[in-house]
Symmetry: C2
Subunit: 297 residues, 2 copies
């Protein structure tokens, strides 16, 4: 709008890179996604890595806003955590700016922490949360993934949250335990087996995650179900235990909004409804919506 | 005993091999342990593997009694499962015999299963259970390990049990997740940090294992405790959740007997006492005691 600045936002996580270039009226002109998470930048030269991903977008007039693990101790610039309850304005105020070699401006958003009896941290999800709720709305937002987050928003303020290592534990169980060795190659998606796992985890008689996962093995050995069901049952059990823990927080009296990649969102909606909850998918691109609310684009 | 037979027992598991040679009066003459679990026998020639471990003990007069994963689908001879409630006599009756090339007799013990709403299996632990309780005793026996077992014995009968993937999950978390990457080399044993993890898992406000393990990371990032405590806290959290699940079974109204390797037994006794339970160590060599009760030696 009479402003020659090129606005770019980058959501740069542990294992993924997502960037958007905006036009003068805030519309998305270009986007770029890659598996170039911060773990792939082994020499620590993040400026060169950014150049590799979106070099043609970068000029001295560019303003880049970054969030995610790129703002962590293992990233480019470590920003502090804003302590919850946190507002969008506090996120903006906590950003750190640097000028790159080519004179473009880089702004790194802070993360959010809770310091109660059970400390927790996030970096990157907060902008998706603000992008998926209205300015005065109260909601429970679930962001499934490697480290799933359950977030309590009250009257537009990010009030409290908990992380669950669901995705990473599932991956480790599949790749590095006896359970994974029993899974046949090319096991298909199977909602019935997935839901059986969810129900097992939610059963009040469950002896906990450590026992439930073992039954995917004993069930096969005792011919209760075929090995083709192990992966889906295991996924249902792990996600089901996340939901069990999340519901025990007492935050989700009403509607739960699930914000994530479409395939995973579908599974969480299925599991939450199996748990008897009302659940809906959040906006497709919550991060961009959050950056818009921040006034960045 | 007027009997020229050489009696040998072999407890051959997934990752370990233990053998004992007995004299005519049932005393242990020799023992041999190695990390030669069935997974190391990649060519399936278990007779050659047995020869490599204890060849000098083996003659045509030898009788070898085997238990553990060597009796499973992935072992030498697959024996059926005896369904719980199971007695020692049923174990003996379910054994399968073969004659080896050198004419010695091999007897493979069965495993035990439960087929209720939550199916479970064991192979090898059952003989330790019978070796750690009296013929008419009632007790809850806990066998910590890769796949920990909680076993309910009533009036000398193995009535029910549940497996917990505690050891294998802890190893996978340490070796294959972000938590492991934060653990400094050479972290020392630390009972206080271990117990803090146990208490966290047992806290009624816990949001479950998937959240509790993540706090070992966020606690370090927020300077609650040093990274040197991560491994012990994590161990306490995982063992604590096993105990939480085990206690929820309602089997352990009285004394809990812990049967396992001394270092692990010490940790479980510590954790069970932190949980307010009465707990004691079982006999040092429960498997040999079980084989004795079976009349095998």
């Amino acid at each position: 709008m009479g402003d020659a600045k090129q606005r770019i936002i980058v959501d740069w996580g542990t294992s993924s890179f997502r960037a958007y270039r905006f036009g003068a009226d805030g519309e998305i002109m270009e986007q770029h996604q890659a598996a170039s998470g911060i773990l792939t930048v082994t020499d620590g030269d993040f400026e060169a890595a950014l150049e590799r991903e979106i070099g043609p977008w970068l000029t001295p007039q560019t303003e880049v806003l970054l969030s995610g693990m790129i703002t962590s101790r293992n990233g480019w610039i470590e920003t502090p955590y804003v302590e919850a309850p946190a507002t969008l304005a506090q996120l903006a105020a906590g950003a750190r700016e640097i000028t790159a070699k080519n004179r473009m401006l880089l702004r790194f958003l802070p993360g959010v922490c809770v310091k109660g009896a059970s400390p927790d941290v996030m970096r990157g999800e907060e902008i998706q949360v603000f992008g998926s709720v209205g300015p005065l709305e109260s909601a429970t937002v679930v962001l499934p993934g490697t480290h799933s987050k359950w977030v309590r928003v009250q009257a537009g303020v990010l009030h409290d949250f908990k992380s669950f290592m669901t995705g990473e534990v599932f991956a480790a169980l599949k790749a590095h335990t006896i359970l994974g060795r029993l899974i046949p190659e090319g096991s298909a998606t199977d909602d019935a087996a997935f839901n059986a796992g969810v129900r097992q985890a939610l059963n009040p008689a469950s002896a906990g995650l450590l026992n439930d996962i073992f039954t995917t093995r004993s069930g096969v050995l005792l011919n209760r179900f075929p090995p083709e069901e192990i992966a889906e049952r295991l996924s249902g059990i792990v996600i089901g235990h996340e939901i069990r823990g999340g519901l025990a927080l007492g935050w989700a009296e009403g509607l739960i909004r699930v914000v994530g990649e479409p395939g995973l969102t579908r599974r969480y909606l299925l599991a939450l409804r199996t748990a008897g909850m009302r659940a809906e998918a959040g906006p497709e691109n919550a991060a961009v919506a959050g950056f818009r609310r921040l006034g960045a684009v």
